[in-house]
Symmetry: D2
Subunit: 287 residues, 4 copies
């Protein structure tokens, strides 16, 4: 595996940006291995992902971010980030009692399907400790009181752990707890949730029961970044499955589990591959 650098950027669309950036990379002997860009003509905004081989690149990797900022950042009012393929993102996995998402994620992790580290699993229940043990990953339990009186304290402990573990993003794998604003602010657009409905339908609790009540003919699952407003963050991925009048709330839950785990894992894949940009509560997903 070659070492590569990745720039994810967006900025007001102006002539010459793509030319300038590709020229900057090739002039410095970087071999571009991925280039995709998208111009949102309604917002007048350019979104871009570029990745290049660092082997012969003349600029030292620790200087790249500074160079990009100096040469393009301010000039183009650019919002950008630089990543390196050999720096694995570090995921904290939050779970509760259901095991389908955690199994799907850990199976991929174990296989090496993802370029990621998962140093810790965090839960408010002991229920899934056995899964963590199967995969030899530390499992931490902080129980949240029914009256939420210790929630602040629990989140503080979780955030300390995550800081210690140098966590770069959080995956809520059917965690079933609302995340406080403090934690959301600490990981802006870096907390991925799976909601078990086709958002914005059936926001909040018990979406399968809501779907059953409404008599829909299709159910869905939605993976999104967590923001302060419940189930209203930027959508990363959705998928659906057809149901019939024969389905019960129970059978919807079973059918939904397969949707949830696949939709969540697709979203996590895109995040790990640094192929998501967010802007104005929406996502641009590079292929």
């Amino acid at each position: 595996m070659k070492q590569t650098a990745i720039i994810l950027l967006h900025c007001p669309d102006r002539q010459g940006i793509i030319t300038d950036i590709t020229k900057f990379i090739t002039d410095n002997r970087g071999n571009i291995v991925y280039l995709d860009q998208y111009v949102d003509t309604i917002e007048g905004r350019l979104f871009m992902r570029i990745e290049w081989d660092l082997d012969d690149f003349l600029i030292p990797r620790e200087k790249i971010k500074e160079y990009v900022k100096t040469m393009f950042g301010e000039r183009y009012e650019m919002d950008f980030n630089v990543f390196f393929s050999d720096v694995k993102p570090r995921m904290a996995l939050f779970v509760s009692k259901m095991n389908h998402c955690i199994y799907d994620i850990l199976a991929r992790y174990k296989t090496g399907e993802w370029n990621v580290e998962i140093p810790c699993i965090i839960s408010n229940h002991e229920d899934l400790r056995y899964v963590a043990e199967q995969f030899n990953i530390p499992y931490y339990v902080w129980s949240i009181n029914k009256d939420h009186s210790n929630k602040e304290e629990v989140e503080r402990a979780e955030m300390e752990l995550m800081q210690k573990e140098n966590i770069s993003f959080i995956v809520l794998a059917r965690y079933m707890q609302i995340i406080s604003d403090d934690m959301i602010k600490a990981y802006p657009h870096h907390i991925i949730n799976i909601h078990h409905s086709f958002l914005p339908a059936f926001i909040g609790a018990r979406p399968y029961d809501q779907a059953y009540e409404r008599g829909v003919k299709i159910i869905g699952a939605t993976s999104h970044y967590v923001t302060a407003e419940l189930d209203a963050g930027p959508i990363i991925e959705q998928d659906v499955v057809r149901i019939t009048h024969k389905d019960t709330p129970e059978s919807l839950k079973i059918k939904g589990r397969d949707l949830e785990k696949i939709v969540l894992s697709r979203a996590v894949t895109k995040h790990i591959e640094r192929k998501i940009l967010t802007y104005k509560n929406k996502t641009v997903i590079f292929s």
Copy 2:
């Protein structure tokens, strides 16, 4: 084409109903050509569709309904209807300015794909008269004032026409007007609407703009029976199509049109085939 009779029924689930009804038909020399039933175990309710050949049937067709009522109706607290395959349902088609649904419907009509009559097309605009003329179907325009001051009067005229034309059900092919309670009561669960979203997401006006704003990754269309509450009637059929961040409100409208016409036509097909039962604001759809 053989003449057949169809019973659509639902009632509290009790042992022996299916046996009783099939025995009644076969004892009277009816050859059953279709039998499907579904027991909703949560509601404790049986839903059934049975169709049989009238050729050698001993009971005169005009007496069948009475016999069913006498023999089973009260005993089983049965909600039922009898239809005959040679009595074509008569559809009133309501349109406004967009032509994709009307074309899809009239093409099927012209081909003879549906066992239906369409004696009239009703609109509040002249825009689609040319389509009606292409297919030689009378086109009636009653313009509704912006302040809706003449709405009651217009609906009265429309209902007179429909009575005269012996209309049995109404299809709103992107009609874009809210139907008043009077008309809904006159055609209970016999007005089929197409809503251009995946209900219950994006109820009301401009769903594609709402979908664009929310940044969903999939859009849908929903066909449902019209009830007093807006976009909240029993859902007959839904379908979806995947979109991306590259889609604009305009491209959503174009992609949505194909969804809308197909979803509406599937719902109309099921209605014409007498394969829909409604109960507690949901539908049972026989295959």
Copy 3:
């Protein structure tokens, strides 16, 4: 969980069968909890699944099969089977080197999603022993020579083990070996395979490479019962996912893995629930 009995049957369609069987059960104080039937009018054949509560049933369970045979079997030329909900089917899981299907299956098994026992995992490679160990399931390896010279011997050993373990059906979770006729005959329509294409397209080896070469816009996966002819047995379940010109053989393999595991698990679910009938190389799948 109540104890229930299930009859799966098919026979030439004649009036009275459903009545006779439901009467037989209710007359003997069986409470029917599931009844679904389908008449294939082209084949003139009735397919039926009926399940009832054994609590107050008058006929001893060990006599049920004999009674059904005597009363209906010959009279209606019926092909039937009787199952009991408390007799768990016993699955032998065959794997090779890829872990996505085995993880998906064992996660469901561990959760108790399926009414099944998995007493052994069989492979021709050591690669997935770690997965079996994670889930504490015996893992047996019989290596097949490249020239297949010991294949007969290996299959004999496998069949001995399966006999000892009282295996009732086999799941090939990307096993990648052709099963010999002897084993197929020993488990007729009881070996479930997952083929990584939308059959009958891309039969045989390397279907993702074939799909890439052909330039299809959608790929699929197919779960089917194994018969003597390669990839030609009765199809249980299929699903697809959209791809684009940007996909490589490698990305097809990754996208395909999620399809494969879900499609295989759906098929296994239906088999375990005794909801599949096969007839003339096709399946009837009850819902």
Copy 4:
């Protein structure tokens, strides 16, 4: 509507091509309104679509092709074409007896959904003349003998008409006749066919009957460019719909019709928008 020029090109991938072409356009005061490119890293080939406003463009439109050829064509071994938004492609529509595709196409045409002219409809049967008359489009019938003895003569007449009408591409809307090599050579990758199966499954005649026989759980439709080998040309678009054991060959045909018309129209849309490039019997489809 502004006048724009479009270049569709592919060539061996080399650094600087995108920069060179965008610079050429912007240096000559062309305002780029669309730019999408894709590098096939397996083939080492760049595919690109660029569109710009002609309003202030300094190079006269009749010279653009020559300039592109001189400046880039040979240097980059480029395969390219230049189109102008105000030059509408002219479609010849070939039909036989089924009307669902022709209605779908003419409805879009009438609505102005497509930037296209349809000066003639060609058939080997009189059956659909009434549709052509509904839309006021000349309908030509050349009957092909059962022994195909006059096929060459018929195709010659058709090609004369198409030459006279300045036809740029052909749409076979369930035409049901094999096109001869001469006509294929005259319109290379400019004849769009709809095949009523999920290719490469069920090539040739009666695919719905084949699908029924095989017992598949999903059927599809495929739109592709016609090449000398039957049903083997570059695939433009495919879609599928789920079926069950309850479907008959007849119901598959009905379900398939909706698939066919939508899949064909999507392919025609992409062709008209000049968003398809073909290379090595595959398509690159720009969004």
